[in-house]
Amino acid sequence: MKGREEAWVAAVVADPRYHALVAARARLGWLLSIIIFTAFAGYLLLIAFDKALLGAPIGTGVTSIGIPVGLGLILLAIALTGVYVAHANRHHDARMAAILSDHAPAQEHGA
């Protein structure tokens, strides 16, 4: 069992498709992480250095610029997780399943 698994791991590592897929997935993960991190850090920096900007009203109303910015950050967090999950479900899972089954040890094929 253990030996079979190790052979499976070795076969997958030798497959260039595996490396391409993992690199693509990591790129997406880091890209989205950087987006949310930058958005949040930018928000904090605005709060720290320019409170007045966020407190300024939109047009002639009462609602301030900070309201859509803050609520937008919440929606951005939800939207980005959605993007990641949709992308992984649609593209990554099938490609990974194909790589794994190509190299699967005989007894476990299709399991």
Binding site: E5, V9, F40, L44, T63, G66, N89
Partner: protein, 564 residues
Amino acid sequence: MKGFVAALALLFPVPAFAAALEGEAQRQPLNLVAILMFVAFVGLTLWITKAAAARTRTASDFYTAGGGISGFQNGLAMAGDYMSAASFLGISAQIFNDGYDGLIYSTGFLVGWPILLFLMAERLRNLGRYTFADVASYRFAQPPVRSFAAVSTLLVVSFYLIAQMVGAGQLIKLLFGLPYAVAVVIVGALMMLYVLFGGMRATTWVQIIKAVLLLGGASFMALMVLAQMGFSLEALFARAVEVKTEAALSSGATMAEAAERGRSIMGPGNFIKDPVSAISFGLALMLGTAGLPHILMRFFTVPDAKEARKSVLWATGWIGYFYILTFIIGFGAIVLVGTDGNYLDGEGALRGGGNMAAIHLAHAIGGNAFLGFISAVAFATILAVVAGLTLSAASAVSHDLYATVFKNGRASSADELRVSRLTTLALGALAVLLGLVFEKQNVAFMVSLAFALAASGNFPVLILSLLWSGCTTRGAAWGGTIGLLTAFVLTLLSPAVWTTTFGLGPAPFPYSSAAIFSVPAGFLSIWLISLLDRSPRAAVDRAGYTAQRVRAETGIGAFAASDH
């Protein structure tokens, strides 16, 4: 009602009871609806616990509900684990007082979830079995890394737990008219019942039910607030500014000052005083979320990486939605509670303490019945959070320390289960005791301390062990410990603890959060110690990376859901 009061009077020493009753007479009457609803909640959850107990036979059942929870269920349970009474009552109260500032908190609490998904969720599920230490120690020598993870889990959970117990005692005293000590004992006893007998299965369902109740109740409140404002946020904000301006005028401010003070609730105020504290605090919330042991543990309850992914999407969605509701509720409280003398004392402050804004709003919207419902939900919320915390601490002791470090991985499932249950009993007793000891203390800093510890110890260890081939046993164990210690010591030296809690004068560490120093300290120590590590073990650790990486990315050899 009279009979119930008489029965309570028999049970508890007269002075304590009299004092509580006195407080209640002025604040909240003994709320029968709240008690009935709470009894219904407890009845339902204990019935579920009984059903779960019959299916909790192995360690896998106890720690992870056999791995058979779906992504949707797990997402709700994660939301139930994360949305504490403190965030519901605390954030709405902060908005009631300062307006916009509450939103900064909310965003900080949410942005850690996407990071958790993008960098960790699938890899956690593929490598781990019961605790996050399974993942952190995957290719390392077990005892040092497991010991670090267990100690860190116990620290994070203890501080989080103390804050929850003290909050619970005070809240329940206020809402239900029960003495503080009784409230703490009830919370401790129920949480022990859930965890002891129902393990993860019962805890999960308690969290799911609580999440549904809390989201439902908060949705209704926000809807009613918006309905009164013609479904216009602009109208809600305009009225809130008006209320705050009038309040400032009546307290003797000049016209210009009053207008400025009224307007101030629409932008960031003095909540965050300096840039360093602002960034540091944000960092602790963001990265701490991805290092909380009781949240990480939930990833092992789903069958595979795909469901783990879905869990985070659902959790992020529900939690984000909840924070938007809280924002509307806070402003609704300014408009509906802040203008009604029934909810204010002589000086214009909220009756029953600063955290009561959402509770009073529930009364203003739906009368006694809805007040009772929201009070019961707040109680249920605390139970769900403490049950999750206790379970994760019990697994750290039984799975990481007992089974892996002391028994070298040779403990039987039955032995491990027995140790878990003993630990649960001990932790429950300890939680009640600490709750009683800290009754009069200001424990507000403890939640942010828990987040700072998780961000500075667990998060760097997990990220580097998962993503950096050069990380070694020594680096992870010692570097993680340095991160933890830095966060701990700096927090002790910070104004919230040094000055506010202990009254020792000006704080040696001037910032409100340690994370901006302690998170880099954790990462740098792990990196440097690993780099300098020339031990034979380090060679094994580095050589193990490729296989670990493949298993993390593909799920080969992942622990599957158990058969039953």
